[in-house]
């Protein structure tokens, strides 16, 4: 087609410029910084070239090992698994014959929007109040019902802080996962389920052998998207616990922030950032293969 190249170029140019300025340039700048000892307090002077020293320090650092463990195991692996499993169970509950018979399904769709529409900052503020040892409703319930002898400081007690954080994140992010599964459930042809029940399959059997396999692609999409959103998230941990008590809940996103803006070690912080970007790029390539290639076959 005549002029195709100019037309394509013109329409992609704005997006290209934004993405160059915000993703490519900062990443290269970050890479360069990560090889220096750039300090927050000597920004104008610039950093001295130190080669891969920041990366060596990172690999050998005990603190970084804990940060890596917190981010991958607690925040991402456990956090995302809880969300996906609860999302599946909740979708099956909302889709159940009982809720259909009682005409509660529409109501549940509305209920699911409420936590989803609540901005993360508000979610953290509410839950910090609810989990408060003195005034919090959760402690009042626990103590009032005799489950706990005295109030629990959920967000500053190392036994409870991770479960509490995961509760906050799950509450806020579960609806999107559930609604996506519900949309996918709607697409199961009724005949398939009827055929299964005619063949004598019990409810449990048809859920296991027909419904769940049908949901698998949606599970893959939501697992990957949740992984990106959770792994990279700064707000939940920072505002709920400030990476504490001590640095007990420190994750990669908060570590990047702490090292750069509290310790002032921008070079070292950039190195952590590069490790984060590398891990996410690996997941991103998986996402391109498993999701984008399947969904947008004509484009990609």
């Amino acid at each position: 087609m005549r002029g195709n190249r100019a037309f394509v170029g013109l329409l992609l140019l704005p997006a290209f410029l934004f993405l160059m300025m915000f993703y490519v340039y900062p990443t290269l700048f970050n890479l360069q910084n990560s090889l220096t000892d750039l300090s927050l307090f000597g920004l104008r002077r610039g950093g001295q070239w130190v080669g891969v020293r920041n990366y060596v320090e990172l690999v050998t650092s005990k603190e970084f090992r804990r940060v890596l463990y917190n981010t991958t195991v607690w925040l991402t692996l456990i956090g995302v698994s809880v969300r996906i499993v609860l999302g599946l169970l909740l979708a099956l509950l909302v889709n159940s014959d009982t809720l259909r018979r009682w005409r509660l399904r529409t109501l549940f769709h509305v209920i699911l929007i409420v936590p989803w529409a609540t901005p993360p900052i508000v979610a953290v503020v509410i839950w910090r109040w609810m989990l408060d040892p003195r005034a919090g409703v959760v402690n009042k319930l626990l103590v009032g019902s005799g489950v706990a002898a005295e109030p629990v400081a959920f967000l500053s007690d190392v036994t409870f802080v991770w479960p509490a954080l995961i509760t906050i994140i799950t509450w806020n992010t579960l609806p999107l996962v559930t609604l996506t599964f519900l949309a996918s459930l709607k697409a199961i042809p009724a005949e398939v389920l009827e055929a299964a029940s005619v063949d004598g399959a019990t409810k449990l059997q048809s859920t296991w052998h027909v419904v769940l396999p049908h949901l698998m692609p949606a599970v893959v999409v939501m697992t990957l998207l949740s992984t990106f959103w959770t792994f990279n998230n700064f707000v939940y941990v920072w505002l709920s616990t400030g990476a504490g008590p001590g640095l007990y809940t420190n994750v990669m996103a908060t570590e990047v922030y702490l090292k750069a803006f509290v310790d002032g070690r921008m070079g070292y912080s950039s190195a952590i950032g590069m490790v984060m970007a590398a891990i996410m790029t690996a997941f991103g390539l998986l996402y391109l293969r498993l999701v984008i290639r399947r969904e947008l076959r004509e484009v990609f």
Binding site: G3, N4, F7, V8, L12, A15, F18, L19, F22, Y23, Y25, P26, F29, N30, L93, T98, L99, R100, R101, H109, I111, L112, I113, P115, W116, A117, P119, I121, V122, A123, V125, I126, W127, W129, L174, L179, A183, S184, K186, A187, P217, V221, L225, N232, F234, L239, Y257, A260, S269, G273, M274, M276, A277, G284, L288, V291, I292, E295, E298, F300
Partner: protein
């Protein structure tokens, strides 16, 4: 994928609806309903409580007492200058979404309808933007903005929000366009319609539902954004609502009433926007899964 398949809310005429409750509660159902009730309470209690608490006085805030509702918290909130932050949030989010949606629509059109060299590399690159850790942008962009004088300006934060919403918007819009038949816009091109007119007159109207869903989602993302606002808007009069809310939370932990009023005001727009949107967006995310 597409952003607009069947609505999740049942729209069948009532005559064909599920049989009425004929036999009362079945034993197994009681358990299901009890679980459903508990789940529903856990899901809505926190947010609903914020709205109730925002109308309570400091003295009755933590009691279960439902009398004595007052607008005092809101009056004091506005008296302390919270209106400025609402204005900032509105201007920044709305402008960013307009620009980001425009940029994403034209890019999505090209990705969906044209063939060109390096297409899958460029498209793959844009999609990888979705997986990018925003936190690592903070330092480089802070330095860049400081040099360009863009810290504490609308322009700076808007450019930032446009950039971070483009990848997801392009993903949703391309998915939507793929579900729209190509015949219409191809016919228009054969008939000699100029390329820009094809986008504006033919494609844009068809993809409007997808555009609305995408723009709403982007708006809510910008409205709730905290990290970049924290880093690039340090002057009080430039701060957006999430920042102002959190600052309040930190400074006046005793002023729970005002914190709750601010939280309620921050939650209201997303809540109102999400109600019509939810079916479209979640169906859009699921659609790829539907297309076997």
């Amino acid at each position: 994928m597409g952003v607009e398949p069947a609505p999740a809310v049942d729209v069948r005429p009532l005559a064909h609806a599920v049989p009425r409750r004929r036999r009362g509660v079945r034993p197994g159902e009681l358990l299901v309903l009890a679980v459903a009730l508990v789940v529903a309470v856990v899901l809505i209690y926190p947010t609903v409580w914020v709205f109730f608490a925002s109308f309570k006085t400091q003295e009755t805030l933590f009691s279960g007492e439902f009398a004595h509702y007052t607008l005092r918290n809101y009056r004091r909130l506005f008296a302390s200058g919270f209106g400025v932050h609402i204005g900032n949030s509105l201007v920044i989010s709305a402008t960013a979404v307009l620009i980001s949606t425009f940029v994403s629509v034209i890019a999505a059109y090209v990705f969906s309808r044209r063939r060109f060299r390096w297409k899958s590399v460029i498209f793959g690159g844009v999609m990888l933007g979705q997986t990018f850790p925003w936190i690592i942008l903070v330092t480089p962009v802070f330095i860049l903005f400081a040099r360009l004088g863009l810290l504490n300006t609308y322009v700076g934060i808007i450019v930032c929000y446009v950039a971070v919403t483009i990848p997801f918007s392009v993903y949703l819009l391309v998915g939507y366009l793929e579900s729209v038949p190509r015949s219409l816009d191809e016919m228009a091109i054969i008939d000699g319609c100029p390329p820009f007119q094809v986008i504006w007159r033919i494609v844009f109207p068809i993809m409007l539902p997808g555009v609305v869903a995408t723009a709403t989602y982007a708006f809510i993302l910008c409205w709730s954004e905290y990290l970049f606002a924290l880093a690039f808007l340090t002057r009080t009069d430039m701060k957006t609502m999430p920042l102002a809310l959190y600052a309040f939370f930190g400074e006046h932990t005793t002023e729970w009433g005002q914190v709750m009023a601010a939280a309620a005001l921050t939650t209201l727009p997303p809540l109102l926007l999400f109600l019509p949107l939810q079916t479209k967006l979640s169906a859009g995310l699921a659609a790829g899964a539907v297309k076997q």
